[in-house]
């Protein structure tokens, strides 16, 4: 049998909360230490302990970080799902099974089976107290032996998980070695899969999008963080809290130049973020579907009263509670026109950790320059899965706090008003209480109708003029938003995608003979290049992760004269998108609506 090197996926099925996550991460990191881009997708339940969880590690010659919907190696170590896991495996899938369980032999038909008595082996672990958790390391050793991961790489990986804790590393290694030795003595290799050291990694780092976004917030100068726990956004605010004290200098008295507040709900979280933005601090909140729904009313105030803040929406599967631990891109239309009344919110769509860092950092300048809540639209796949990435780059631009109505500015402009369009760009000069002290500056910011001087007004003309100015202001934002990225192909077909669809798209395009042109959207409102891309192609296919083709709808709405050529292909099952879906959609459109 010819070996197949560095081109397969391992799927590990375990019950949630049993400590298997450490083992899974150790395998991934050992592969990275071998110089391989090992992509991991954690398919976890909305549960603390007991429900099934799957972890899938993929290595490919192209270094792709999309999930392959099919796996070549399966560890069905959850009795609750073993039947399903085996049935979903294609013929010849390698199965590393727990032979201490009674599983019908017929289930394994057509599969390449390695039997390991995991329960008996676990009794060899010397530390009886820690045995239930260390037990999971046995399968790490078995995998290492069967597929050629050197044990020193396992040790190296454990050292990154337990830095500075050699005793803990030793305990884990002892358990892994039990598995390794068993496989070496008792299993005969009968499959083609193996790993070999390579140089895919270079100076790449491993991090998830939420942590990258959190660092972007710190580099963007956030100083007030208000948030409410929700999957998959919690880890973003928690990462800000973890890093900010170590990254930002304290004041001369050793006190914090920031505050992180866990609010009582999302209504309060956005209220605090807007209150802080109004009072002049750079502020943020982070949430997901249900939370973004709750924030609607206050975001409308932020839009209308022109208050800067940054809102991170890490999308999960909706509507309602949906699938809290699965991924989707289904908040697009919601955030674009959030709140009641005529609104339009700018949003940024990162597709990788570096963009998570950069867009997050940039969002604070955008929010203050345009005096509006800016939405950072990520998703669970990017936010919570770990990604190999080039190191995060220093921001290119210094912090700019936008047009501030200092006393000097008010004196210079002589007819300044809080909402007056002095410069013809729709952007007024905002006040900062306690900083703007000019006698003409005091006013009451309100969500009710107001004129250029922030006075209450029910005048129809004043209301229309104000909404029109807001529309002009937002149109003008485009020049500062991340531009779409265009890659021309050799077909009359143009495909459009955004966010985490990008990786699957790029992998799919690599494998296509006739390549369509590809435009990746990175922000809303749309740049002119979006229109010209659509105009340049006879057919446009928008591929995205929601049922209704929300971005396709938004494009049709903005470019009605081109609407007829925009079709959409949608996946909304909640798993990370595969290149296969994209390829199929392009080659033989299914689930495609005109």
């Amino acid at each position: 049998m010819n070996p197949v090197v560095n081109d397969f996926s391992i799927r590990i099925a375990t019950p949630n909360g049993t400590g298997s996550q450490t083992s899974n991460i150790v395998i991934q990191r050992a592969l990275i230490q071998m110089g391989l881009i090992a992509s991991a997708k954690n398919l976890f339940p909305s549960n603390i302990a007991g429900l099934p969880t799957w972890f899938q590690i993929r290595v490919s010659p192209g270094g792709w970080q999309t999930m392959n919907p099919q796996w070549q190696v399966l560890l069905p170590l959850n009795q609750a799902t073993i039947g399903r896991d085996l049935r979903e495996s294609v013929p010849n899938t390698v199965v590393i099974e727990n032979s201490d369980w009674k599983t019908a032999d017929s289930e394994f038909e057509g599969l390449c089976r390695y039997s390991v008595p995991f329960d008996q082996l676990a009794r060899k672990i010397s530390n009886a107290k820690l045995r239930p958790r260390l037990k999971n390391l046995i399968y790490v050793g078995v995998v290492a032996q069967l597929f050629d991961i050197p044990m020193e790489k396992i040790r190296g990986a454990l050292q990154t998980v337990f830095p500075g804790k050699e005793a803990v590393v030793d305990l884990n290694i002892e358990a892994a070695q039990i598995g390794f030795d068993f496989a070496a003595e008792s299993l005969t290799k009968q499959d083609p899969w193996k790993y070999a050291a390579a140089d895919q990694v270079g100076d790449q780092i491993l991090l998830d999008g939420n942590e990258a976004a959190a660092l972007g917030a710190i580099w963007g100068g956030v100083s007030v963080v208000a948030w409410y726990p929700i999957t998959p956004a919690s880890s973003l605010a928690e990462a800000v809290e973890k890093h900010i004290g170590r990254c930002r200098d304290s004041d001369p008295d050793g006190r914090n130049r920031f505050v992180v507040i866990q609010a009582e709900d999302e209504l309060a979280a956005i209220g605090m973020a807007l209150g802080a933005g109004w009072a002049g601090a750079r502020s943020m909140t982070s949430t997901s579907g249900p939370g973004i729904s709750l924030m609607a009313e206050n975001l409308g105030l932020g839009y209308f009263a022109e208050i800067p803040t940054v809102v991170y929406d890490i999308q999960r599967v909706g509507p309602s509670t949906g699938l809290p631990t699965r991924t989707q891109q289904s908040d697009v239309l919601q955030v674009a026109f959030h709140s009641h009344g005529d609104t339009r919110f700018p949003f940024l769509i990162p597709a990788c950790p570096i963009e998570s860092f950069q867009f997050s950092c940039q969002a604070y300048d955008l929010a203050e320059k345009y005096q509006i809540p800016v939405i950072f639209l990520s998703d669970l796949d990017l936010g919570m899965n770990s990604w190999m990435s080039d190191p995060l780059p220093e921001p290119e631009n210094d912090i700019h706090r936008g047009k501030i109505a200092t006393d000097e500015v008010i004196a210079r402009l002589d007819d300044w008003g809080r909402y007056k369009d002095v410069d013809g760009d729709g952007i007024p000069y905002r006040t900062i209480p306690g900083i703007t002290l000019h006698p003409d500056a005091a006013h009451l910011t309100r969500g009710s109708g107001h004129d250029e001087n922030a006075e209450y007004s029910e005048s129809p003309e004043v209301y229309e003029q104000n909404l029109d100015r807001l529309a002009r202001k937002i149109d003008g934002m485009v020049v500062d938003l991340p531009a779409p990225i265009r890659q021309d192909g050799d077909s009359t077909l143009g495909v459009i995608a955004y966010g985490t669809t990008d990786m699957a798209m790029r992998e799919a395009l690599e494998s296509l003979e006739q390549k369509p042109s590809y435009l990746r959207l990175r922000s809303f409102p749309f740049h002119d290049e979006v229109e010209s891309f659509i105009d340049d192609h006879e057919q446009i296919l928008v591929i995205e992760q929601n049922q209704q083709g929300q971005m396709a709808q938004l494009l049709r709405m903005h470019f009605p004269q081109l609407a007829a050529r925009i079709r959409s292909a949608t996946y909304y099952g909640g798993l990370p998108l595969s290149a296969g879906f994209v390829k199929d959609s392009i080659e033989q459109p299914r689930r495609v609506e005109a």
């Binding site: 200098d249 006190r255 130049r257 507040i261 209220g271 209150g275 750079r282 306690g434 910011t445």
Partner: protein, 346 residues
């Protein structure tokens, strides 16, 4: 009269009291809320407050409109219904050198905003939180609010079906650090309480009975001027003494309880008939319960806790405004990102 005498009196900032006014009120004639606005003006004038250091915060409703009618030189934010506490918390932490005065109503705080009322008490930011309590929704034409007593009929004779909420009792249960109740018609009590609230480093909550002359001032109402005058009771007279002032009032031995506030000012409480120590939580609970049992409305300083830590202290926040931090303070030094990147290296 000489020229000199014609000039209006001014405070230490050289400001006349009229300079603490806001725009003309749009409340109904005789509304209690206007009296509260006047008390805020009086307290701010007396304390020589620079209104530009005040943040006027409110939600939605009649009461929440009133920040437009006092301290015209202060900035304010009229936020969304029931959310004044969260906007105030955010504004406060953005710049702790400013003093927020939040104005809310019984609809705004006791119904739609109950969650935020509860949690801002737990969080204890330094601010004054006034609830102008009249038992009805005025702007929407007289529906019962959650503070309407069951025995208090509407103008048309209907009674609330749901139990009423005593905001002071609730605040006490939640561990509030400064709780006072007053009456819009009792300036002598309200002004010193407001001054003490402005001097307090923590959340100073004032539940002010403020009759709605249009919808809830009729016979039988427990939020009417008449009812408050007949059934209002208090256990001490408050007197505020600023840090610069000398105590020049003579009191009999044991007649006086003195509370020193965070800025060095003092609140002197002259005891009336009852022995009551508002620094003792148990006494505060008992006083509220006993008066309520008799159908009375207890006013005055109900509880004060000088030991509790405020939000900014608890969060070890800088005393400089976060609002004015620039590039050099906000962005980590060059090289820090390299260290962070190094930490993600496998």
């Amino acid at each position: 009269m000489s020229e000199e005498q014609k000039k209006p009196a001014t405070n230490a900032l050289g400001l006349a009291k009229s300079e603490y006014k806001g725009g003309p009120s749009t409340m109904c004639k005789g509304c209690g809320h206007d009296r509260i606005s006047e008390a805020v003006i009086q307290a701010s004038y007396d304390l020589d407050i620079d209104a530009r250091n005040i943040l006027k915060m409110s939600g939605i409703g009649c009461s929440s409109k009133t920040p437009a009618y006092f301290l015209g030189n202060a900035m304010g934010l009229n936020s969304t219904h029931g959310r004044m506490p969260s906007f105030s918390t955010g504004a406060h932490v953005a710049n702790t050198t400013m003093s927020p005065i939040g104005v809310s109503g019984d609809g705004d705080s006791a119904s739609i905003g109950m969650g935020q009322f509860v949690h801002i008490i737990r969080r204890n930011p330094r601010m004054v939180y006034i609830i102008e309590n009249n038992g009805v929704y005025g702007l929407t034409k007289g529906q019962f609010s959650a503070t309407a007593d069951r025995r208090s009929p509407s103008k048309r004779g209907a009674f609330p079906r749901e139990a009423s909420i005593d905001l002071c009792g609730l605040a006490l249960e939640l561990g509030a650090t400064f709780i006072a109740r007053s009456f819009s018609g009792d300036k002598k009590q309200l002004v010193p309480l407001l001054k003490a609230a402005l001097s307090f480093d923590g959340l100073a909550f004032l539940d002010v009975i403020s009759p709605c002359v249009t919808f809830n001032n009729h016979e039988g109402s427990t939020k009417s001027y008449t009812h408050q005058k007949e059934m209002g009771v208090t256990f001490h007279d408050p007197h505020y003494v600023s840090p610069q002032e000398q105590i020049d009032i003579e009191y009999a031995e044991g007649e006086l309880q003195e509370v020193t506030l965070h800025d060095g000012s003092k609140l002197l409480l002259r005891k009336l008939e009852h022995e009551f120590d508002p620094t003792d939580r148990n006494a505060s609970f008992a006083a509220l319960q006993q008066t309520r049992n008799k159908g009375e409305v207890l006013t005055g300083l109900i509880h004060i806790d000088m030991e509790a830590e405020s939000l900014a202290a608890n969060a070890k926040m800088t005393r400089e405004p976060l609002a004015t931090l620039m590039q050099g303070d906000l962005r980590p030094a060059v090289g820090v990102l390299d260290r962070i990147n190094g930490g993600f290296k496998i």
